[in-house]
Every structure is written in C-alpha cells, then in structure tokens.
C-alpha cells in the first residue's frame, strides 16, 4: 500500500489525469501519483520535500523549482540493465514502474555520514584544496582518492548495457520558435499564417509556458489557457507547422544551426522498441525567435537551502498545474509583487499564509491591498534573515531591514512555518542568445540582464527579452514576428505577408515586475550567516565563499566562478549566476554592468551523450570498405587487416598453422611457384586531357612526358615540402590519357590533392581526373609460374603473354572477361596485375585459383606481400616514410629528375639541409643471429652500454623473417646510414633481453640484379 497523497488539492488541473494513477518507487518506497505528474510534484503531493544531499557539505536538500532550473532535486533512475544518474525530479515525468532513488548520500537520505562535512564547513572554504594536501608531496595521490570519492554526484552502473536507440534528425525551417509560452505561441501563429515553415519547441510536456500556471485572466476575452489551447490546436492542424514538446533547445550555433534534444519515450512506461529514447534534432533555421521565458531568482539568506524553501513561481505552479500544495504554513519572502500571487494561491488552496515579508519599504500595488484585506500579515521593509530547521524548514527569523546599508535594523521575530516561497525577481532566459555571442545589457529598471536584439537572424521576445507584462509580450511577439516574416518573404515565395496582424488583448492584473534587488540578506552576524546563505545550491557555494574569493584577489567574475565553482554545476547557475554577480559587484563596489557575466555555453540543459552519439557507434562508427573478392577471402579463412577504411586479407592461415608458418608458406609459394594477391584497394585515377602528360610531369619527381603509350612507370610524389607523399605506377593509355595508381590508404588524399592543384594552382591545364578505384578489381599474379597460369586463363591470343615486356600493359580477355593486364611487380617476381571491371572480380579470382591449382598457386595476403617486397628492398609509403623522409633519404636520387625545371617539392629539395649526410637514411640490417627478428619500431644505437638517455641512430621501419633467405631481414632509417654500410649497430630491447647486434647493409636482399622480375 502506498501512502496517501496528503498534499494533493481537490481542484482539477488539466495537466494531471486523475483517472490514471501511476505507481512508482522512490528510495525503495512505493508511491502513487497521477499521469502528468513529475517526480517532484508526485513526491510533494505526499509531503516529501527531502530528495537529495548537496555536493560538498551533504546538506539535506529539497525541491527548489519546477522545471529545468532545478539545482537540488537530482535523482537516479534505475533501468533493468543500467542506471541513469543526475536526472531532475522536476522534469522527470512519472510512469508506472519508475524506480527512482536519491543520490550522494550514504547510507540513506535521512542519515548521511558525510553530512559531517557540513560541521567542518568552516575548514573547507572556497579554494581550500589549493592551500593544503601538499605535504608530503608523495601523499597527494592518497588524499586525492578520498577527495574524489566524496565529490561527484550520482553513480553510473559499471556493467552497463544500453538497449535504447537514439536518433538524429536533420531539419530545416523558415522560423524556429524556441519556447511555447504565450509569446512563442503568438509568434508561431503569426509566421505560420503567412505560410512559413515553422517549428515551435518547448522542453515541457505541453505547450503553454507560464500560462499553464497563471490562468486567472483573459486573452481575447477567453481564459488565457483557452486562448492558448485554441492557438495550439490551430498550429497542430497546419501542415507547415511542427509542434514539439519535451524538446529542449540545447544549443544555438553559427548560422542558426540549432541542436534540440527531444525526449521521445522517457515518460512512457511501455517504451516501444522501434522508438528512440531520445532524438537529437540538427536544425537549420532561417530565423529564430527566442521566447524562452524567464527564471525566478532565489533570495540569498542564511538557511535558504533547507527543504521546504521553494521558488515562489514554482510553489504556484505546483498548486495550479499539479494540484499540489507544497506547504501548509507558509512564509512568503519577496522583493516584488509577483510573490503575492503565490500567497494568494496558497491562501485560496487552503494553506495558511503566516506572513508575507517584503524587502521593499513602501510598495504600492492592488495585490498588496488585496492581501492585507484578506487579513494576511504583510510586513514591508522586512527581511527573512535566517531560516532554521534540521531536515526541513521549521522557522524563520524576520526583522526590519535596511536595504541601503544591508542589514537588519530591529530585533528578529521568530516565526514557525513549514514552507517558504521566495522571489528575487526574474532572469530572462538569455542562454540561447548568449551562446551566439549576443550581447547582454543590464536593465536597471527591471534589474535583469536583457538580450541586446541586434541580429537579423535571431530575436528574443517576451519574458526572455525582459518584457514581463503579458500584454506587451504579445504585442512584441506580433510585431517582431511580422517584421521577420516580411524579411523572409523577400527570399521565399511561399511566404506571404499578412497585414495587419491582430494583437491579442489581455485583461491581466497590472503588477509591478520591477524587483528591489537585494543580492544578499545579511543577518546581524554576517560572518556566520553568510556561510549558510547559499548562492549555488548544487555546488554549495555560499555568499561567504564569494566574498572570500574577492578578499583573496579573485575579482574577475570568471575567477570567482572558478574559485568558488558557482554556476558550474549541472544547472549551470540558472538560479545562481545573477545573484552571485550581484554579491560580487557589491563586494567590489562596482555596478553589475561593470562586473559582467560569465560565458554562456551549450547546452541549455545537460544533453545525453547517447543521443549525441546517435547511431554512429558500433559497426556504424565508420564505414568498412571491402573488395569484390571479400567473400572468397572470408570463406578461405583470411584474417583481415585495417588499411584506412578498407579491410584487406592479411594472411590465410590453414589448420594448425601459426602466423609465421602461414607467412612462410605464402612467401615461399610465391617465390617458388605462384601467388595471388587481391590488390583491388589500390587507388586508381583516370587522367585525361591534352595536358595530362604535363600535369603528371609536375606532380611526380620523375619524367612522365616521355612515357610511351602502353607503357607503365613507377612514380614518386612529394608534397611541396619535399617529403615523400605517395607512390604508384602510372600507365599511358593514349597520348592524352593515363591510368594512375596510388597506395590504398593514400587514394582519397592523392585525388583531392591533384584536384586542388588543377583547380587552384594550374587552372590553365586542361586535365580531367576521375576516380575509378572501385571500377576495377585487381588480382596480382606473381611468381615463376605466373606466366603459365596467365596463359592458361587467357581467352584469346595466348601467345601475347610471351611477348609481354616488363612495365607494359595489354588489354585482352581472361576467361572471357575483359581485362587490362599490367606487367609490373611488387614482389620481385615475374608478375601481372590483372584489372577487370569490378563485377568480375570474384569470378576472375576464383578462376585464377582454380586454373592455378595445378601450378601451386597460393593466395597470399598483405603480410606476405610486405615480406616479399622487403626482400627486394622496395619501400612502402607510410612504413619507410612518415612525412619526414625525402627521396634522397630513401637513396632514390635516381627518381628525382634533374632536368625538369619544376615539379612539386623540387624547390624544397634544394634546401641545403635536404641532402646532408647525417640525415636519417634508408638502409638494410642483417642481424648477427639470423633467427632473431628485430621488433619493428625498435631503435638502433652504436653503443648499447651507454647511459640512458641514449644517442639513437634511428628506427627499424620494416623487419621480417625471410623464408627465402632463411634469415631475418630489416630496413631502417638511420642517421648517416648510407655512409655506415658495413658498420655494426645494436638494437636495445624493451623486455630486458640483450640488445640485438646487426650489420648495416644495402636494403636489397634478394635478386639484386632483378633478373627474376624481368623474367
């Protein structure tokens, strides 16, 4: 049996559905609320105020607000497979089966061991960490453990599994209206009537904004909320309008790029699997209207953080929206008229308003008279100088107050109570305006920061603009939206200006919105009371902390923020920042405008990381690219290697083979019989146009203008700094037509670079580039039997395989498949790179393997390819080079044309430092012990016994066991390497083993003359 909803009123709000009771638990106890309740309203309905403990002092905390501004009521929700910390009870809509619990307490809310911190609070003023825990130095890591353990709010579950979906959605509109209060609704209506594509979004569960709370007057002769409902209904019916609720506008960025976080199923007890938990909208709006309303400021006095102390507007919302009377013996503490309406509401709901304490000396308003007439004790020129209670407010001290000099001028009167509603005036919600670097101006009259409406693209209206009077807000909404519509209509024929647009009329109570700003209510003993006068409730920053920061020289508002952590909690200071600035300004004897504000940053309220990640996780984090032969590799047991986004067959282990055995077998087979490699991932670029030869001449270091048609040439590309960028073989297909290949990883970069050169540097060249990487599948057939196999597969003119000189190309048919065959070799064996239109890739591969079987054809992967080429001393860009290596360093002087007047990188190579003998240069290494394979990446030194730090010569870039040479081989980039051939070096090991001794040699280990490759 769950307890009774003792504080639920009999009234009948439309926001909650009394027909639908909802069961939930909080800290293990069962409660019943109604559909439409938030966790906060449902708990308050049971008289539960204590819902959490504060961050630093573990003070008991209750519910302060009624929406996203809430700093205190952070709770954790348990799900079957995980838990979600730090959710605001004031926004969390209850559903059947909700399991919620309080945070930051041990063992329980009522008894929290760390609340002892509160007693020692005087030892932990702001910044105390910086002053202590320094001795002895070695113990900081020990202290830190405890500090960390005490900090932090909620807990996440470690064995977390998130079954939920999170969606992203791009959207575009003519006008985004942020906030669905009276102003926002009117703005949306005006724009929608003109035919604009409108999105209106509000973070609450329904549109209406403040009207949902304050509904005792008329708009256009209808009760305010009826007017709103009519507008909402109209908007819903229009195809050009999208109405979003539970949608927080999280960020406003350059060019009206807006992020919105929509909570789709969080409030439902049955969450259908296909619907996302949240949806992140990525919106581009032509214009934005910010109608985000205002947030009430607390008043700062000793004990203002006790459970039972609430914002006045929140208290009113709980009464009107949720039919909940949060306190039965209420003190109202205010510096403006608005709180009197809360007093009235409490009174009318049957609560007892013990006293209205007004800081203003002699305020005059109809409502004050009304309250006095009702016999309520109204004390103007007074202040609540302290609130008392242990886990709940029990009493207050009230005294006459001198607002000029800041202090009580009479003895305090003690009054008991169980509730306090406070109002310090309104802060327009300027966050989205400020995120865009919109300026703020301090408005002396209304005592608030207002946005400076300067942009054509985003405008603030209504309370968000400091226009608190409803009638004026509606007029403003109408006028400003109409002018935006006029601008939009100039660019967009869909939008038709409607004139004149009627402004809704209101009969609201005329009230004085201007508060009397008193940033800090002092008791007679300020040193003591300031320490319990909370400014930032969540981070436990007090008025005393702010004053201490100033005393210690932290004067900038940004320093105060960082020294005291004010405004840095999960509410980002929605209720605290302006008060803190006020106290700071007073302490520094400056005006608020001179003091400034801290920087507003996204998001408006914390935004789920899961929603931000969306579906770009798991296998969809980054595309995987595969070749057309992939299924064969897979079926034949290949292990794959990542090469950029490509998955390449790395090696094909057979039953019982280890890695090295597989590689040995593949390498051996290729050298002795024949091997087949899937080379489809090589980048391929079709180069066509009259200036193609000239172009290639400029981008390669060697000469391509002289390349005869049908012939291929290896080329090296540098960047303008002279460093090796890419390499590959390019073939001339026709006078004005070339077929270029690039490395697999470099393909996109090379194409982009070449395009850039053509479009920016050399616009005079007439050349077209087209990527054909995926158009062709490539099988590289190599080994002594390669020609035989090729011949066996050729469909016509088989003899042409005999007359096939090295570095030439032929177009023919293989197994009936049209093919371009290149007689080039990366293994040092007689080899053919067979290119076929990609759709035949698999057919070609399978055919070659079938026919090759009797000639011992073996599929080999990239690892065997690496070994084969290393035996020949061929470099791999990215392995022997790292962006700091020139062709000279690779001992490839031969490939750098001395004749060409220019090519990319030429001038850089001429710098004096580029050909200096002590640069790191490519050499081969042979270990003394032929069975020792040096780990790749290891560094060589001359003297292994020297002290650390050692003088290193350079690193081993490639290192393998060569089954053909029956020994290990390695390549290295060593300082002055070319002149050191014949010398010994040592390679120190990481694992404590003895350094490996090796001799510097030429990097070509096998078939130095290249007889095999030429055939």
């Amino acid at each position: 049996m769950s307890p009774k909803q003792s504080h639920r009123l009999r009234a009948n709000s439309t926001a909650i559905n009394r027909q639908k009771p909802v069961q939930f638990t909080f800290d293990g106890k069962q409660y019943t609320g109604f559909e439409g309740d938030t966790l906060a309203s449902a708990l308050l309905a049971h008289g539960v105020h204590l819902v959490g403990r504060s961050f630093k002092y573990h003070r008991p905390r209750g519910i302060l607000g009624c929406g996203s501004e809430e700093p205190n009521a952070l709770i954790r929700v348990r799900h079957p497979s995980n838990a979600e910390p730090n959710l605001r009870a004031t926004q969390l809509e209850i559903y059947d089966g909700l399991v919620a619990e309080s945070q930051n307490r041990f063992p329980s809310l009522n008894v929290d061991f760390l609340s002892i911190n509160s007693m020692f609070a005087r030892f932990f003023p702001a910044g105390f960490y910086y002053k202590t825990f320094m001795w002895p130095a070695s113990l900081w890591m020990f202290y830190e453990r405890f500090i960390r353990q005490a900090a932090g709010l909620g807990k996440v579950s470690k064995n977390h599994h998130d079954p939920d979906r999170y969606e992203h959605k791009y959207a575009h509109c003519d006008l985004l209206v942020a906030g669905g209060g009276a102003s926002g609704l009117q703005a949306a209506l005006v724009a929608a009537n003109a035919g604009a594509r409108v999105i209106i979004a509000d973070e609450q569960s329904e549109l209406g904004g403040w009207l949902l709370t304050d509904n005792n007057f008329n708009i256009d002769q209808k009760p305010a909320m009826d007017w709103a409902s009519t507008v909402i209904k109209k908007l819903h019916s229009m195809p050009n309008v999208t109405c979003l609720v539970r949608t927080t506008i999280a960020a406003s960025m350059d060019d009206n790029f807006i992020l919105m976080a929509e909570r789709v199923t969080e409030h439902l007890s049955i969450k259908e699997a296909h619907l996302p938990k949240q949806r992140l909208w990525k919106l581009r709006a032509a214009k934005v209207i910010l109608a985000t309303g205002a947030i009430e400021r607390p008043l700062i006095f000793s004990g203002n953080d006790l459970p039972g102390v609430m914002l006045s507007s929140a208290a009113r919302s709980y009464i009107f929206r949720y039919d909940v009377l949060a306190g039965t013996r209420a003190i109202i503490f205010t510096n403006n008229d608005d709180a009197y309406y809360t007093a009235l509401a409490i009174h009318q709901a049957g609560g007892f308003v013990r006293c209205i304490v007004d800081l203003r000396d002699n305020p005059k308003s109809q409502i004050i008279t009304t309250m006095r007439k009702l016999g309520i004790d109204v004390r103007t020129g007074h202040a609540v100088i302290a609130a008392h209670g242990t886990r709940h407010i029990a009493s207050v001290d009230i005294a006459e107050y001198d607002t000029e000099n800041g202090g009580p001028t009479s003895d305090a009167v003690h009054m008991d109570c169980n509730f306090l509603a406070m109002s310090g005036g309104l802060n327009p919600v300027v966050h989205l305006h400020s995120q865009r670097k919109g300026r703020l101006v301090w408005d002396e009259r209304t005592s608030c920061y207002r946005p400076e409406n300067k942009s054509d693209d985003w405008v603030s209206i209504g309370s968000a603009n400091g226009t608190f009077q409803l009638g004026r807000a509606l007029a403003q909404a109408t006028r400003i939206t109409s002018s935006l519509v006029t601008k939009l209509a100039k660019e967009n024929r869909r939008i038709i200006v409607q004139e004149p647009v009627a402004i809704p009329e209101t009969d609201e109570n005329k009230q004085n919105w201007a508060p009397l700003p008193v940033w800090l209510v002092q008791s007679g003993q300020p040193y003591i009371s300031n320490k319990t006068a909370f400014v930032d409730f969540q981070n436990d920053a007090t008025a005393a902390d702010i004053k201490l920061a100033v005393r210690e020289g932290y004067h900038s508002v940004e320093h105060v923020k960082r020294y005291t952590t004010t405004g840095m909690a999960t509410d980002q200071g929605k209720t605290s920042n302006i008060n803190a600035i006020g106290i700071l300004a007073n302490t520094l004897n400056k005006s608020i405008a001179q003091t400034g504000t801290t920087t507003f940053r996204p998001p408006y309220t914390p935004t789920s990381l899961g929603a931000i990640a969306g579906r770009n996780i798991g296998s969809l984090f980054d595309p995987i690219r595969t070749t057309r032969m992939h299924s064969w590799h897979h079926a034949n047991g290949a292990t794959f290697e990542h090469v950029g986004q490509w998955m390449r067959a790395w090696y094909y282990p057979r039953e019982g083979e280890n890695f090295q055995q597989t590689i040995n077998r593949e390498v051996h087979a290729t050298r002795h019989y024949a091997g087949l490699l899937d080379a489809s991932t090589l980048g391929k670029i079709d180069v066509k146009g009259p200036d193609s030869a000239e172009f290639l001449n400029r981008v390669y270091t060697n000469n391509f203008a002289t390349l005869p048609i049908g012939k291929s040439r290896y080329g090296l590309m540098l960047k303008e700094d002279g460093m090796v960028f890419d390499d590959g073989v390019t073939t001339r297909l026709a006078e004005d037509h070339f077929y270029m290949t690039t490395t697999s990883g470099g393909a996109a970069g090379v194409l982009a670079w070449l395009e850039e050169l053509l479009q920016t540097e050399w616009q005079d060249l007439n050349v077209y580039l087209t990527s054909v990487t995926e158009q062709w599948s490539v099988a590289s057939l190599s080994g002594p039997n390669a020609k035989t196999i090729l011949k066996a597969c050729m469909s016509e003119d088989k003899n042409s395989a005999d007359d096939f000189p090295f570095m030439t190309m032929k177009e023919t048919f293989i197994a009936g498949i049209p093919a371009r065959i290149f007689r080039i070799s990366f293994t040092g064996e007689m080899a053919f790179e067979i290119n076929v239109p990609a759709r035949y890739g698999l057919a070609l591969w399978s055919h070659l393997m079938r026919v090759g079987k009797e000639f011992n054809l073996t599929a080999y992967g990239t690892e065997a390819m690496h070994v084969l080429r290393a035996e020949k001393g061929f470099i791999i860009v990215g392995q022997e080079t790292d962006g700091t290596v020139t062709p000279y360093d690779l001992d490839m002087h031969w490939i750098v044309s001395k004749k060409k007047p220019d090519f990319i990188g030429k001038r850089a190579l001429e710098r004096t430092s580029m050909d200096e003998p002590h640069r790191k240069q490519l050499v081969g290494l042979l270990t003394e012990d032929p069975n020792k394979v040096i780990p790749e990446g290891a560094h060589a030194v001359l003297d292994p016994d020297q002290e650390i730090p050692m003088a290193m010569l350079g690193h081993v870039s490639s290192s393998y066991y060569s089954p053909n040479l029956k020994r290990s081989i390695a390549m290295a980039l060593l300082k002055g390497g070319l002149n050191r051939k014949g010398q010994n070096v040592y390679i120190p090991m990481l694992d404590g083993q003895k350094p490996i001794k090796a001799k510097i040699v030429d990097p070509v280990f096998f078939d130095k003359q290249g007889d095999r490759l030429r055939g």
Partner: protein, 205 residues
C-alpha cells in the same frame, strides 16, 4: 577497349556478401513503409565536358545536358545528372553505356572530353515509400522538404558517413548512388535507421 565486351550485360551487385531480402520493422506494423533495392542493371557513365562541347555530347548521348548542377533529367529510360559545371553522370540501360562511350570517343570532340565508365564503381539503390524522406533526414543534412527537393532534383551530399548522390524521382521515390565499397555501409545504415518505420531491403533487379 577493355570494357567493350558483350559480357558486360551480366548484373552488377555491390552486395555479393549479403543475403537479401532483409526486413526490419516494428511489431506494430504489418508492412514496412520503406523499400530499398539495388538497381543492378544500370550502366553509368561519367562525362566531363565544357559548355563548348555540351550540346554535342547531348546530341550523341540523346540526353539533355543543359542542366544546372544538382538537376536531373530523365528521358527514354536514361537519367542524366549534372554534377558540376563540367561534369555529368548518365544512367542508362545496362550495356548501352559501352556503346555511348564508344560513340563519344569516336566523335570529333574526343580530345576535349573525358568519358569514363563508372558502372562498377557506383552502386544505385532505389529507396521508396511514404517515410523515405524521414529516413534520409536521419543522416542527410540537406533540406529534403518536398518544396525544396522535388522531382528531377538531385544532390551530391552526405548520407551519414557516406558520400552519395540523391535523385528525386517522385514525391516518395529516390535513387541513392554511392561508391560500391560504401554500399554495405549504406545498406546497414538504412536498415538500422529504417527500423523505426519498417524497411525491407531486397536484392533488386
């Protein structure tokens, strides 16, 4: 030339590693609201030419190339797309692109143009159904509202992490062209994103 063989008419599927059809849908739905299939028998020709030779190319290919970038035109079973000021893509019946290329390369303007067969480099997916725009909007940043992206419009843009060309055929029917090596990614992405509306992916024709 290598690609002039009659053998080219066999189908070209980017999904040789996949078993289709796959249907993903919420339990509440009877039938999926989005259909995806590969258009396998489609020749694709990339043509580079300037305004000087464009009319000639139009004539030789029987395609209307007097298009603005990101516009398409379909005529007699061929779709021509303008990808940029000097770049066009022609989608034609399987095999006919070979003939087209031959025609262009044996014309007088051969020196001034570049014609590249990209039939196997690109994969064409047909996406249709009443929720198709909602699906695309999950990963495509351009404005897909029917007012802004309607019949005969096309766009080279991003779809999630792949680069694609979208062609609007009808209010609720699109062609999505991507590089074949990205096709599986695009398929997987669509299947996952389409679950909300129900999606069926079939091998296509």
């Amino acid at each position: 030339m290598a690609d002039t063989s009659p053998h080219m008419v066999i189908g070209n599927s980017a999904f040789s590693n996949r078993i289709l059809p796959i249907i993903k849908k919420p339990e509440s739905l009877k039938t999926p609201q989005i259909e995806l299939s590969e258009i396998r028998h489609l020749g694709k020709l990339n043509i580079r030419c300037t305004s000087k030779t464009r009319d000639m190319v139009s004539k030789l290919t029987q395609c209307n190339l007097s298009l603005q970038p990101n516009q398409s035109d379909s005529k007699a079973g061929r779709i021509a797309l303008c990808l940029g000021p000097d770049e066009y893509l022609i989608l034609a019946e399987q095999g006919s692109e070979i003939q087209l290329k031959k025609t262009l390369n044996s014309s007088d303007i051969v020196k001034q143009i570049a014609v590249t067969n990209v039939s196997d480099a690109l994969c064409a997916l047909s996406l249709s159904g009443k929720k198709v725009r909602d699906l695309l909007a999950k990963g495509c940043p351009i404005d897909l509202h029917p007012d802004s992206f309607s019949k005969n419009q096309s766009a080279q843009c991003d779809l999630a992490l792949a680069n694609v060309i979208l062609i609007c055929l009808e209010e609720d029917a699109f062609i999505c062209i991507c590089r074949t090596s990205f096709a599986e990614y695009v398929l997987d992405w669509c299947l996952d994103a389409g679950f909300e509306f129900g999606i069926s992916a079939s091998a296509g024709i």
